[in-house]
């Protein structure tokens, strides 16, 4: 089957029960997508499929035929970081960095739907992405900063 990941087409022959997470990590060596809980509890494996944030640990590769997958490796344009990535660095919105790819992709999807979220919308919208280091306050700040004009009110 054909999988389009970060703009490149890949022909993969994954068994029917293989998850997108395993295909990305083990077949395509895109290891930015992390395996943490393997059951949709932590958000570390989040990728975008046709712009929607999904848990790749709960997504079967076989169901992704012809769809467009974006992983953390596809967020920057060459050496130019996405403003959200830049904001994560500027606000120190990470410590160990293991949850960071999932956080960035969830935030990307959130901002695509709601370009000027309130702080509350960010907190609720990203509460499915766990961070054990506790970078949460700075992640919120980074996402709001990347949203550009700052949070909408009311």
């Amino acid at each position: 089957m054909r999988l389009i990941v970060n703009g490149a087409a890949h022909d993969v022959s994954a068994p029917d029960h293989e998850t997108l997470l395993v295909t990305l990590r083990e077949r395509l060596d895109l290891t930015g997508t992390k395996l943490v809980c393997a059951r949709g509890e932590c958000g570390a494996c989040t990728v975008l499929i046709d712009g929607e944030a999904v848990y790749s640990c709960l997504t079967l590769t076989a169901a992704c035929e012809g769809q467009t997958v974006t992983t953390i490796e596809g967020v920057a344009r060459g050496d130019t970081l996405h403003p959200l990535q830049r904001a994560f660095i500027d606000h120190d919105a990470l410590q160990c960095g293991f949850c960071t790819p999932g956080q960035v992709l969830t935030a990307l999807a959130l901002l695509a739907k709601n370009p000027h979220p309130t702080e509350e919308a960010v907190r609720q919208g990203m509460s499915g992405n766990l961070c054990r280091c506790g970078a949460y306050p700075k992640i919120v700040r980074a996402v709001l900063a990347a949203a550009g004009d700052g949070p909408a009110h009311g």
Binding site: H17, E18, V22, R25, E26, D29, L30, T31, G32, T33, K34, L35, V36, C37, A38, R39, E41, C42, A44, T71, I72, E73, V75, A76, L81, Q85, F88, I89, D90, D92, L94, Q95, C96, G97, F98, C99, T100, P101, V104, V122, R123, Q124, M126, S127, G128, N129, L130, C131, R132, C133, G134, A135, Y136, P137, K138, I139, V140
Partner: protein
Amino acid sequence: MAERSGKRFVTTKVEVEGREETKVVELPSRDPEPWRDDAPLTVVGCRVPRMDALEKVTGSARYTADVRRPGMLYAALFRAPVASGRVTLLDLSPALAIPGVRGALTAADVHGIRIDGVHLFDIAIHYAGQPLAAVCADSLDVAERACRAIVCEIETAAHVVTAERALEPDAPRARSFGNRARNSPRVVSRGDVDAGLRDADAVVTKEFRTPVALHTALEPHGAVAEWSGGRVTIWESTQGIFMTRNEVAKALGLRLSMVRVIKNYMGGGFGAKNGASHATYTAVALSRKLGRPVRCVLDRDGEQRDAGNRPATIQRVTLAAKRDGTLTAIRAETIVAMGIGGWHSSAAKIYHELYRCANVHTAETWVFMNTSAMASFRAPGHVEGAFGLERAMDMLAVELRIDPLELRRRNYADHDQEKGRPYSAKHLDECYRQGAERFGWHESRERAPGSGRLRRGSGMASLIWGAGGGPPAYATVRINRDGSIEVLTGAQDLGTGARTVFSQIAAEVLGARIDDVRTILGDTERLPFASNSWGSITTASVGPAVRVAAEEARDSLFEAASQMLDADVGELVARDSEIRVRDNDRSITFAALCDRLGDVMIIGQGSRGPNPDNTAIAAFGAQFAEVEVDTETGHVRVLRIVSAHDSGRIINPTLAESQLEGGIIQGLGYALHEERVLDKRLGVQLNANMHDYKIPTMADIPVIDAFFVRGSDTVANHTGAKGLAEPPIIATAPAIANAVAHALGREVSEIPLTPWRLLSR
């Protein structure tokens, strides 16, 4: 900067994770003047962005679980489903018959390897989740399927999984010699507690309980091992590359030079990743047996069941005081429920340290049970002990009708009473003052909690943590021919910021641009020794060694420059990677200078000197919390936390504040949600996943104002910096619990403060 003469090797004391160790140390080549508060520093103290953030936000950082070697196989562990018993049949043949399965390990393959007192793959079952075998296959999927195909028959035996039951005379024995650790109870006392109780105007007594908490690092324990020419290379998610190397070499009878341990990035440690683990030995043994690289990374279930935990405690506490609040006696009987093994982390220690009191008596008992072994977990012992002590202090404050903060101030310890020695520096009073002011403590306490469904309350707690670091630690600084600079030291960056902090120290000394400096960590074969990154010691241990190495390199660089610029060394100053002659316009960049030197490499070596004699070194802090309790649902919402810290000089305020916030958030989870839940009848854990074991989410986070009070600790070491990663978690649970008690007007004695605990009274 005098050259040392006389003795080269001396002994010194280093406190790690609450344990004081005596170490032999080689005196460094030089002993720089300490950086005092008024030192004109331009890079140290700056908010330099985290230097490995780019790799982390782009997904290019390779963690251990991401390492892939040509021909690599995948291992999975088969675990005991019961808490006690004996394997009577272990048939691996159905597993080995599955296509793609390449081999397996049982006890016979790993003879003599023990972890926490248990033989690896022991057929005697000591706790549920204990590994019994490992299987290796072409893919993880096949390896896991093969594990499920193993046929295992077990003769079960009686088990014990609570400390109280374990201490009863007729309890099943978790360890052959009994359930009580041999040194228990360990009694530590000073003064005369009975006299202190007689002299008291007020006495409070209460039993406190704390839960088993799980580290829940996002990256599980894991290793990739590859043998070549009789040597093994191990990529490991570890806080201690040298400890892992030493343990593997010892277990396998190898020379240290035959074992190489590498750690580039790791997805959290929090104390649980301090040496060779089940995953390490499994990868190493399977790789040797099969002649191919092997990756063994625990699955989430295994990580939550058997990868270390903060042990549960029971603390029976009595505090006594005069009418004016002066403490006259502190007594605590503490029980630490270790599980099958671990080490003697002490909940009692903080009772001797935090407040001034002439009469203190603690008796501590460590208990073995049929549960997985405890491990260090961010400020081990102090987190547990602080809950009991600081809750009891608030009960005493109620009894005496004294403001809780005022009560703590009246019992301020101006020296280390346990050993009768001064502190290198202590600014806890400043933490109280600034913290109370930023929190609005007095206004907040005076506000009535309310009588409706939602009640508000405020609470606070103090902390102390021996975070002085110490030797040995080594660093090398080298300057390449283009002027780029490398700092090499065998420490680890857990996500704490060590790479950034060491680069800042080197840049400061050399007068280099921070962007010109790169710190290389985590490789036993290529780097000089640094200790485990535990006990909040890395900055205070390794930082001074980096400073000395950079000074040596700078001296060589200046000597070369003095010839090229025709000036005395004393006339030279460096800034932004350029050396200038003072009062003169002659200058040369590092790049131009080093290019002229060609492949003559400027190299500086540094080491960490001894700690000052007869001096206690500690970090301090005070935390203030405001909560809202829903009296109908029992839900506690933390509204805000103010946390004031004294950790000496702060090398990078941004990264340091990130550590504080992270510690507070972990402490919030410990206070409100986190506990390992066991089926006591079966002795099996019920919440070995990330949904039912509840760590805080982004929606749970209060407004956090965490900051440092000023004060370089120039007695502690010549950088003035002390540790700061563990301190913030110590005070959070008691501050929150004290706020809940204030809101409800009744005492709380057990965490986590889940709704059923708050309502079932």
